[in-house]
């Protein structure tokens, strides 16, 4: 079942993401295949949020939430296939041109090594996080936040509503229950591996944005990123550590996937999916009334560009394009 889930979730994410981008940008979308996966992942977070509201705020059982999530997941995937069928476009087939194979092989090995490190060692940083206990308590009680995840005993005073809104524990509990995966494997193995692959998908988009004409530079960039993941394995909030030891946390998904993806979107002047990133962040991380890092990064990048272009105009120079391409 774990294998089925590993095939089904990315496959559905690809279709969902492609359909959403087709709706947002029509046939002439110029986004990459990796964008489909990331946007699809964000759509799945959105579906989980709907189920989370039913379970955590409206008092429905987790089993009911899981059924609603699965029905919505299948319905959206079918609808996405229908959209893609109706609004067909000729995909530009990017042929794999040979060259720099050695670099690609080294990069692939580094990524597999990191995934194996997570799967084999389960080296988890538990400080300040109770996702595992929360998922276990959801599965045991078939409800959300009826008992204190730390002790398993009923709450005396309860928890802040803003925390209840975060949907990741509910998503993990639902996937664990729907696919019969042990919670410990769902939270500490599969979720971090998904985050790791999301991270490399986003960085491969960034590589294309930063080096649009040069494949050699793109693979060098990805190689350095893979090395930096090992190098950055020293403290929480650094990508390497977050990915290798805390990939299931909302802050890790935000730092490793959503924020770099937002940067890639702004560099490409694709604004609509930025809103999806902002919403996804609000669903998985405690933000200031929904205003989190993605919004701040998008606004600050835009302001930096405007200020510098304004300065150049005053100095009589040529304006910069956002992206070098």
């Amino acid at each position: 079942m774990e294998f089925l889930m590993c095939l089904l979730i990315p496959g559905a994410a690809y279709v969902l993401g492609k359909a959403v981008l087709r709706v947002l940008y029509g046939k002439k979308e110029k986004l990459t295949r990796q964008d489909n996966f990331i946007v699809g992942g964000i759509v799945i977070i959105g579906l989980a949020q709907v189920a989370n509201i039913l379970v955590a705020f409206l008092g429905r059982t987790l089993s009911f939430g899981t059924k609603i999530f699965l029905v919505a997941f299948v319905a959206c995937t079918v609808a996405a296939i229908a959209v893609l069928f109706c609004v067909r476009s000729k995909d530009k087939r990017i042929a794999f041109t040979p060259g720099h194979q050695v670099l690609y092989i080294i990069f692939g090995l580094l990524v597999i090594l990191q995934a194996a490190y997570i799967v084999a060692g389960m080296p988890v940083y538990l400080g300040g996080d109770m996702t595992m206990e929360t998922v276990q308590s959801f599965l045991t009680t078939d409800a959300a936040y009826t008992v204190n995840p730390m002790t398993g005993q009923p709450y005396e005073l309860g928890i802040p509503s803003r925390l209840k809104l975060l949907c990741l524990p509910t998503l993990y509990a639902m996937l664990s229950s729907a696919f019969g995966v042990e919670a410990i494997n769902m939270v500490w193995v599969l979720a971090p591996v998904f985050t790791l692959f999301g991270f490399y998908l986003v960085y491969s988009i960034l590589a294309q944005v930063l080096f649009p004409e040069n494949r050699k530079r793109r693979i060098c960039f990805l190689l350095l990123v893979a090395l930096l993941v090992w190098v950055g394995d020293y403290m929480l909030s650094v990508d390497g550590f977050d990915l290798l030891h805390a990939g299931y946390r909302g802050v890790s998904i935000r730092g490793a996937v959503l924020v770099p993806y937002t940067i890639s979107l702004v560099l490409r002047k694709r604004w609509k999916p930025v809103l999806l990133c902002v919403l996804a962040e609000a669903c998985i991380v405690w933000t200031l009334y929904g205003m989190g890092a993605c919004l701040a990064v998008a606004v600050l990048l835009m302001v930096t560009e405007k200020v510098i272009n304004g300065y150049k105009r005053r100095m009589g120079g040529k304006e910069d394009a956002v992206c070098n391409s």
């Binding site: 040069n214 090992w230 650094v238 924020v259």
Partner: protein, 284 residues
């Protein structure tokens, strides 16, 4: 003022634990003072501005307020694309260096190898400084015991034991209740709930630490200028009164202490792996 202080302390902590910030600053300075295309890229400008803003305590304090006080200083570095920019700067430097026809191939290889080695030495290569636990090595004895008790018990199991036992029990089994949870020693977890622990439980926790270290019956400890006295017998009475029906003690408890428990409480602890376990009659 507190936010400002946190911002300054946070910067010291971020630079103490690893060297990525040093690499980031070095690359920014390198491209700032050399003539190249990177300097013209929006990513360079954004990273430079954000790095300066995250280092300056006043702007760092503003970012900390924006991200809510729930998070520490290190999280404001989420706004800075540290990994992306280091990889970007490094790629441009290495590729330009390799495309420079004036240099010998061996010279290029040596410089590249040297830079990569320097980069790798800036990290800890899978040996994180922060405490990481390999949860793949379960406390097998405890796991087997808990499975047996839960299977045979008609009522919920409420467990009390040393940190690693209760932490592990609650992580792998949602059907086990605890006398106190991981938030007893990981105080940051208390932000997730309005509930707090009464002082008696704090005392029991202190005794359990003492029992684990010394195996003794009673002692006292200074906590925030206040002397707390704890006694194993009293702590066990408190726990049982609170509904605990399984107690797991460290194996190093002295014979004298165990005899006191037997004579005063009528409790017999049975050795189970490296632990001493008592299970209440009604669920036994």
């Amino acid at each position: 003022m507190q936010l400002l202080k946190n911002a300054w302390d946070g910067w010291l902590s971020v630079t103490d634990d690893g060297k990525l910030m040093a690499i980031l600053l070095a690359i920014i300075l390198f491209y700032y003072f050399t003539k190249n295309q990177v300097k013209e890229h929006l990513l360079f400008r954004y990273t430079t501005v954000m790095t300066v803003l995250c280092i300056l305590p006043v702007s760092a304090a503003v970012f900390m307020a924006y991200q809510t006080r729930f998070y520490g200083y290190q999280w404001i570095w989420t706004y800075v694309p540290v990994t992306a920019f280091i990889a970007f700067g490094g790629t441009v430097f290495l590729c330009d260096f390799w495309e420079d026809c004036k240099r010998e191939r061996i010279q290029k290889a040596v410089v590249t190898a040297g830079l990569l080695a320097a980069l790798l030495m800036c990290g800890r290569m899978g040996n994180a400084k922060w405490n990481v636990e390999s949860v793949k090595q379960p406390l097998t004895a405890v796991e087997n015991l808990l499975s047996e008790i839960v299977r045979d018990s008609a009522e919920p199991v409420c467990l009390w034991g040393p940190e690693e036992v209760v932490e592990y029990a609650r992580s792998v089994r949602g059907d086990i209740e605890l006398f106190y949870g991981r938030n007893m020693w990981d105080k940051s977890l208390n932000a997730y709930s309005y509930d707090t622990y009464p002082e008696e439980k704090e005392v029991c926790y202190q005794w359990m630490i003492y029992a684990q270290d010394w195996g003794g019956l009673e002692n006292s400890v200074n906590i925030v200028g206040e002397k707390i006295f704890f006694n194993g017998v009293e702590c066990i009475r408190t726990a049982v009164k609170d509904g605990v029906n399984v107690i797991c003690l460290p194996g190093r408890m002295t014979e004298e202490t165990l005899e006191v428990f037997e004579s005063e409480l009528g409790m017999t602890f049975v050795r189970y792996g490296e632990w001493l376990v008592w299970i209440a009659q009604k669920i036994n």
